[in-house]
């Protein structure tokens, strides 16, 4: 009865990255996701990890939404990962639904993150029972300071854009991976390697529930870009590095010496991934390790998924392509995941 399935259009997912701003909107029919519209707005080169987000940028986003055939102007803003505080908390017994536990979680997050109470928004979810957890309530909380949210929201709202929600991108990407893993993924933990411009994130979840999140600050496309540029001769080394990352990368017929920074980054990622998997496997012994996905702008480097697969001995598909074959651009995954995450939560 496929024809009876209702088609829903998501809000416009907005991922404000360090190098570009990504917009994506999809339609959902049953389990099928179709990309309706997308846009990538490059940002000027800069050195800061968190570039400023001004009114001109917000107006540019508004213009792009109008020009690129997006439906409506309802936005779901993906909270930038660098601004999020994600912590695992051990709280008194009572369950995550308990109001007292939730209040304690907020206080604990403020204490750990060194933020004033009521100066941030937070959300929490209960983690699966630990092998030796006792009666305590184990939750994971995510917090976003009002100051960081306002820096993005004020220009967007002043540009007459309707921001309906701010969703934590790790949770959105994890939910997107759970969709890609399918129903059998609920019995295992899946891993997403998000290779971004400024950092690489390891996201591990069980179903739509985020279990672990780690940022590898010293591994990112920017560092690869810088190292490859440094190895290049001539004036246009930045352009050469860009071209190399986009078209050559780790392709079998590529330049092995030039690709050495990429392999080094992969080694670093794999080392951290092994440690992380060991930790998660020890913590959640009831779950086996399942699918592994790659996403982010770094996932578009030619040959990187195959190289990871060789090293890990398993297939490492691009998350966006696995979740929706129509989405062939890995850098749009976070924006699309944000749109889907909030739309499915609303419905």
């Amino acid at each position: 009865m496929k024809w009876l399935s209702r088609t829903r259009t998501t809000a416009i997912g907005l991922d404000v990255g360090a190098r570009s701003i990504k917009l994506a909107q999809a339609s959902i029919t049953g389990q099928h996701v179709r990309l309706l519209a997308s846009a990538t707005i490059p940002r000027p080169p800069h050195d800061a990890a968190a570039p400023s987000f001004d009114h001109a940028t917000a107006h540019l986003i508004r213009q792009v939404i109008r020009r690129r055939a997006f439906y409506g102007n309802l936005l779901v803003l993906g909270a930038p990962m660098h601004a999020l505080r994600i912590e695992s908390l051990e709280l008194p017994p009572g369950g995550a639904a308990s109001v007292a536990v939730q209040k304690i979680a907020g206080i604990e997050l403020a204490r750990i993150s060194r933020m004033r109470p009521n100066s941030f928004e937070h959300a929490m979810w209960e983690l699966p029972a630990l092998a030796r957890g006792g009666a305590a309530t184990h939750v994971m909380g995510v917090a976003l300071a009002h100051q960081d949210a306002d820096a993005l929201l004020d220009p967007l709202l002043d540009a007459d854009l309707d921001v309906a929600a701010v969703c934590p991108l790790p949770n959105a990407i994890n939910a997107f991976a759970a969709r890609a893993a399918g129903p059998e993924g609920d019995e295992v933990v899946h891993t997403v390697i998000d290779i971004g411009w400024s950092a690489t994130r390891l996201i591990i979840g069980q179903g739509p529930k985020l279990l672990y999140f780690r940022t590898l600050s010293d591994v990112g496309v920017r560092r690869l870009h810088a190292e490859i540029s440094a190895n290049c001769s001539g004036d246009a080394h930045a352009d050469v590095a860009e071209h190399f990352l986009q078209t050559v990368g780790l392709a079998p017929d590529g330049h092995r010496a030039a690709a050495r920074p990429i392999e080094a980054a992969l080694d670093a990622i794999l080392q951290e991934l092994k440690l992380t998997h060991a930790y998660v496997g020890h913590r959640y012994q009831q779950f086996a390790l399942g699918g592994l996905f790659i996403t982010g702008g770094g996932a578009a480097i030619p040959g990187i998924a195959e190289a990871l697969g060789e090293r890990l001995g398993q297939d490492v598909p691009a998350l966006s392509h696995r979740a929706s074959p129509a989405v062939s651009q890995p850098h749009l995954t976070a924006a699309l995941a944000a749109a889907l995450f909030c739309t499915e939560a609303w419905s």
Binding site: W125, H146, L157, A165, P168, W346
Partner: protein, 219 residues
């Protein structure tokens, strides 16, 4: 799993904006509904006005038809009444006593009357005959122009002057429009000379008036 890290300040701002949009939408909807209702009411009233107007026109047409029929009937009634009056006038016998008295005064012992004939005929008309659209003469009531009474007197007198005196006296009675000596001659009567005469007296009555017309139009 619902996670929305939108700060309360922005939630409030968004809720206010949504509420304002809802109020504006409700206001616009209400205005549109009121305008639609007014237009519908106006259209309904216009339809009612038009139907009443059409009904009035229909009644006016019916009244005009009735008036026209009434006029036709009145003309018919008038004609019938005229014909009835005419019939009465024709059929009613003239006042022969006055006629005989006048004739006797006119003779004045100078002669004798041998015959008296009266005849009632339609009065002659000098108007040109009316023609219809096809050029044919319109058939009119023969008595429409009036009634003519013609009296023929025949008798004997002793002298020829007596004939002139009789004619003169008849003219002065005022009863006749015209008194004409038709024939005179010499004859004998009882062994003496006598003169015979034949006089025609004509009087014409006015047309028979319709109902309400002048009285005494009959001769």
């Amino acid at each position: 799993m619902s996670m929305n890290l939108l700060p309360p300040r922005h939630r409030l701002r968004r809720d206010r904006a949504r509420a304002a949009r809802r109020w504006i939408l409700a206001g616009v909807s209400e205005t549109v509904l009121l305008i639609a209702a007014a237009v519908a009411l106006h259209a309904f009233a216009s339809i009612d006005d038009r139907s009443v107007h059409a009904r009035i026109l229909s009644l006016q047409t019916q009244l005009s038809d009735i008036d026209a029929r009434k006029t036709d009937r009145a003309a018919v009634i008038s004609r019938v009444q005229s014909q009835l009056q005419l019939r009465d006038a024709v059929n009613a016998p003239p006042d022969y006593s006055r006629l005989l008295a006048a004739v006797a005064d006119a003779l004045a012992d100078q002669g004798m009357l041998t015959s008296l004939k009266s005849d009632i005929t339609p009065a002659p008309t000098k108007a040109a005959p009316l023609l219809d659209a096809n050029g044919k003469p319109v058939k009119l009531d023969p008595y429409a122009a009036g009634v003519r009474l013609q009296v023929q007197l025949s008798g004997l007198v002793r002298s020829h002057d007596a004939i002139t005196q009789v004619v003169d006296r008849l003219q002065h009675t005022g009863l006749f429009d015209e008194v004409r000596l038709i024939k005179s001659g010499r004859d004998g009567f009882l062994g003496a000379d006598a003169f015979t005469f034949q006089i025609t007296c004509t009087t014409t009555g006015a047309p028979v008036a319709p109902v309400g017309g002048p009285e005494g139009a009959t001769p």
